[in-house]
């Protein structure tokens, strides 16, 4: 304190510290974030009223390539979602996931003065300033093992971003690199603490626009929807390293691109989503949106897709899907086997998880893993279960 330099600096602490008083009782409201909360109508009190300033989905908005491969920061949420069913050189099945989520914290086109005029003076020039954060999940699932890791970052050109030429979707050292403005051919590199993979991806099939020309309705009343397109026909190969052991893999992958400002309405609790590759060469996208209570009606949607770009939408009433067995992980039960019946498509399938323990124990916990199909068709695919 007497050292002169310190003495001169001490004025700052004195007044400040003296006013420190005893602590208050700790709050104990344990609340974990759910996918529904993240994707639902409200996620943050002060943003509720600002919802209107996010761009809303528009039935007439056409999906245009290559622009729509890039991010849509004026919408609240968006993702680049890759799942792959692979086989190692030894013939062992292996599932793999990579998803980069974009979440807008405030509307990009916001004209509202944040909180108070006081706070209106902004730091504009800094790269650190952004309204977007990215969350990326990566997972590798074998019959016996399941590894999942996640990364978070604000949008920052040096840290996490989606940019063109070449089309890059990155967070830290996890990166999708396309070609020019196109998503494919691409490389994807992910390096986690327990696993890593370096993959080459290519596809020659046309993109599939889900729903009505890419406008995918998510509820019976049509109140929520997203812009949604897929590439279900991707050849993928590369190296997967699990706990230090590297192996070559090849297989098929599926990419989903989806953005919206509201995925769920208030009555919806979560969804079960399936990306299935049938042995007749077709693929089937199917999801079920579950209500908060048993009385809320579930909403179903699906699309049968072919490599030549053609496909048929399957209406909600044509889909009959039912969980046939449940698996308990850390006090939560997940339906890891399903009965799916779509008479109009002559589809009657039993869907079983390759590894029922494929829960993603991340900051937003959900179940995601490869599935095997039997019944009217054979095949494999991916399943995502949220909101349990």
């Amino acid at each position: 304190m007497i050292q002169l330099t310190k003495t001169i600096g001490l004025g700052l602490n004195l007044g400040l510290l003296l006013m420190l008083s005893a602590c208050s009782e700790p709050q104990t409201s344990h609340q974990s974030i759910s996918m529904g909360k993240l994707m639902g109508p409200t996620q943050n009190n002060d943003q509720t009223e600002g919802d209107a300033t996010y761009t809303q989905v528009d039935k007439n908005r056409a999906i245009v390539f290559p622009q729509d491969h890039l991010s849509h920061p004026d919408f609240r949420q968006e993702w680049w979602y890759l799942t792959a069913n692979l086989e190692t050189a030894q013939g062992e099945k292996l599932g793999l996931q990579w998803t980069q989520f974009r979440i807008a914290l405030t509307p990009e086109n916001s004209t509202k003065i944040p909180i108070e005029t006081l706070a209106a003076i902004k730091v504009t020039e800094s790269d650190w300033v952004s309204k977007q954060i990215y969350m990326t999940h990566a997972a590798v699932t074998t019959k016996d093992e399941h590894f999942a890791e996640e990364r978070w970052s604000r949008q920052h050109p040096q840290l996490a971003d989606v940019s063109a030429e070449p089309l890059t979707i990155k967070i830290d050292d996890w990166q999708w690199t396309g070609t020019g403005n196109m998503l494919f051919p691409a490389t994807l590199a992910v390096a986690g603490d327990q696993f890593s993979y370096q993959l080459t991806l290519d596809s020659s099939a046309p993109y599939q626009r889900q729903g009505e020309q890419g406008y995918s309705v998510k509820s019976a009343d049509g109140s929520v929807a997203s812009h949604y397109y897929s590439q279900p026909f991707i050849q993928i190969s590369g190296q997967v390293t699990l706990q230090g052991e590297s192996q070559s893999v090849t297989g098929k992958a599926w990419l989903d691109r989806e953005w919206s400002s509201q995925f769920l309405n208030k009555t919806q609790a979560g969804w079960d989503w399936f990306a299935l590759r049938l042995d007749d060469g077709s693929t089937l996208m199917l999801f079920q949106l579950r209500g908060q209570t048993d009385t809320d009606t579930h909403f179903y949607s699906g699309r049968r897709m072919f490599a030549n770009g053609s496909g048929r939408n399957i209406a909600s009433k044509e889909i009959a899907i039912k969980a046939s067995s449940w698996h308990k992980i850390d006090s939560t039960r997940y339906p890891t086997s399903w009965q799916l019946n779509i008479p109009s498509e002559n589809i009657d399938l039993e869907i079983d998880a390759l590894n029922p323990n494929a829960k993603m124990p991340l900051s937003i916990p959900y179940w995601e893993g490869p599935v095997l199909i039997s019944g009217s068709h054979k095949g494999e695919g991916y399943m995502e279960l949220t909101g349990y």
């Binding site: 002169l4 104990t28 706070a119 209106a120 040096q158």
Partner: protein
Amino acid sequence: MTNFWLSLQVFLAHYRQAPLQAGAISIGIILAVMLLTGVRATNENAIQSYSSATELLSQQAKWNIIPSLGKKHLDESIYFDLRAAGFNHSLPVIEGVATSADGKRWRVQGSDLIAALTSLSVSSDTSKASDSNNDEKKQTALLSTSIPLGEILSGASIVMMSQSMAEQFGEKAEFSLSGVELKIVALDDNTNLGSSILMDISLAQKILKQRGQLSYVAMFSDVSMQKSQIEGLLNQRGNLIESDNGDSLTALTESFHLNLTAMSLLAFVVGLFIAYNGVRYSLLKRQRLLTQLQQLGIDKVALMSALFTELLILVVLGSVAGFILGLQLSHWLQPMVSVTLEQLYGAKILPGNWQWSWFFQALGLTLFAAVAACGSLLLQLIHQPLSGNANHFTQISSTAKTQKYQLIVALVLAAIACVLIPLSQDYRYSMALMGLVIIAIPLALPWSLSMMVTLLLKLLSQLQRKIRFKGLLHYQVAETKELVAPLSLAMMAMLLALTANISMNTLVGSFESTLKVWLESRLHAELYIRPASDQMLEVEAFLAERNDVDAIYKQWYLKSQLQKLPINLVSRDETSLRETTVLKSSLDDLWPELMAGRQLMISEPLAIKLNIKLGDNLTLEAIPNRQFTVGGVFYDYGNPYGEILISPTLWQRLGLPNTPLSLAIGTSGSTDKLKQALQDKFSLPDAMIYSQAKIKQQAIIMFKKTFSITQVLNTLTLLVAAIGLFSACFMLTQARMAPMARLYTLGVNRTQLTQMVFTQMAIIVLFTCLIALPTGAILGYLLIHKITLQAFGWSIAMEWDWLAYGQVVALALTASLLAVALPLYRQTRNPLISSLQSEVL
């Protein structure tokens, strides 16, 4: 078994009759456990805070990347490179000091809030360590509603601080830093922000005017395996160092906490004295009852078990109450301790949790002490012959013997301490030895008091020969001697508290005057300023042109380490070095050799801590490949960091940071005018420009704060002792009602009686205070010349404070006289016959 229950019931009935006795015992235990627990909680909490100090709103760093030597900042590209290389469990931090509109300086910190908050959830998932602490923090993570992340990230000028900190700003207070209007968001205190002002890195870089710069990067994962990879990546742009988990802070503050612990143990002992006294008194009162019970056929075993059970119940009840009060006390002490620690060591103290183990340890200790203390009493009592119908003060017969034993033990202990203290080099041993002295002092008290009263009696006898006065006075003094034994325990406690208080006051007073003298020579310029480093050149040029500036003195400084201890490497211009360094000792050729860069000077605390002697050779981390001889040791008070002074020419030659940290200005003109001119020209806030007088004043204020916690504890101990004295006097006076009634019937009137009782008590208390005078001085001497010197490295000239001594004497007298007055007042309202009866009963 029935006998046991019966005895217990009888005892319960006894206490219902005499609740004061149970009260006295409980108060002693409660106070002992309260102070013990209070200080324990405060200490453990502080130490816990050092080791669990996390990055704000985030977790604890395992490694840090800090600027390379001589640099203040890192380029933020280092962080980007780290992330791009996959080191995502890392956090960029920028910190510094910003000035608010009213000229106050605030320490602010900015970090990548997303990285900070997400590190919490990521870490707890991968490690699967889900302790409750982490869970609690997790909810403050990313999407919690209390942090308006969206606004913050999009660049709104929002700062976060703890609730308690934000309260001082009120609802609509305007707060701006570096000209940026800010909105304050208060976060719950359990987010552990302490007194920090936290903001996003984007805003912090703007406010601190450090665009693209970082203070450090915290690494949350253990990167010891990838050390070479990171070092390659850093490519000399920064240094990777392992976090010490607060070890250095714990080491720095060790002596402070030890002081507190010693103080609390002292209070514990004082409290136990009171409890022991209570037990003794209550047994004394029940002596007849116990004999009667035995005569009625209750066996000794049952009686003993009942007595022990009674003690156990009292101890448990007292401990529980003491523990609860102790936690409250710690809650109350905490802010004071954190001020001291923050001011002295820059340590941040967070609210903590108490542990059951503290309670059980306190209970165990109390139980052990109580049984050890009272065991002999119980045994003694039970071995008394049944026939010997005890009179009230049987024990007095053996008092002289006991006093002699106590004196012998005291002398032996004192002798051991006398021999060993000069040999001790470590303050911990010194403290233990001082503990022996502290035990010896009260042990010698009863004998000393008896001696003193005997002397007084002799004096009176001689006086009586010369002037005739009533025999009553003689009787009065003679009876005082009889009172020494029953009061001795309370007096011992009082003496301990008095001695501790006097010695502490001596230490504090002595330090204050030493500090003043030291400051006098340490401050040679009239004005001290610390402009921002980018202003420094301009300020220098401005000053050089002014006629009223006689001299400009500069100081450079650099943080470094010496044998793992954090130190400041400092240099000043030659005049400053010569004029302001107050040397304790030096080599003959210090100055020429220092200027030639072959010698250096080290501060006294550093020399003592590392046992460095004049003439020793040193190599400095900041100046590799160069050996220095220690040419001088200088006094340095209140600085927690060791300091090393080297010559300014060497500083320049080595290319150490060239911008002075602060300037000192000598002026023959008006200080105020020059200050005004500087402030007008450079808009320097008040907090960065100090006159000599203001520094002195601030230093004294700081110093007083540093010792405030110790003084509070000391006063508490004294209060505990006063309460003990009060209860002892109260009980004694009640017991003496019968003899007093006898005197009354013999014709001594009430006024005389009252005077007599007051005088007797005053004699004993004043004699005790008289004894406390030399013992306090001895203890003060040890505190100053052994403990403080060894623990803090400060040489202090001892000074005696009579005023403080007078105050504690007055407190002791007041407590005892009040204690006498109360039963006396009650007695005057009772019929005389009832008092006489009590003698017979």
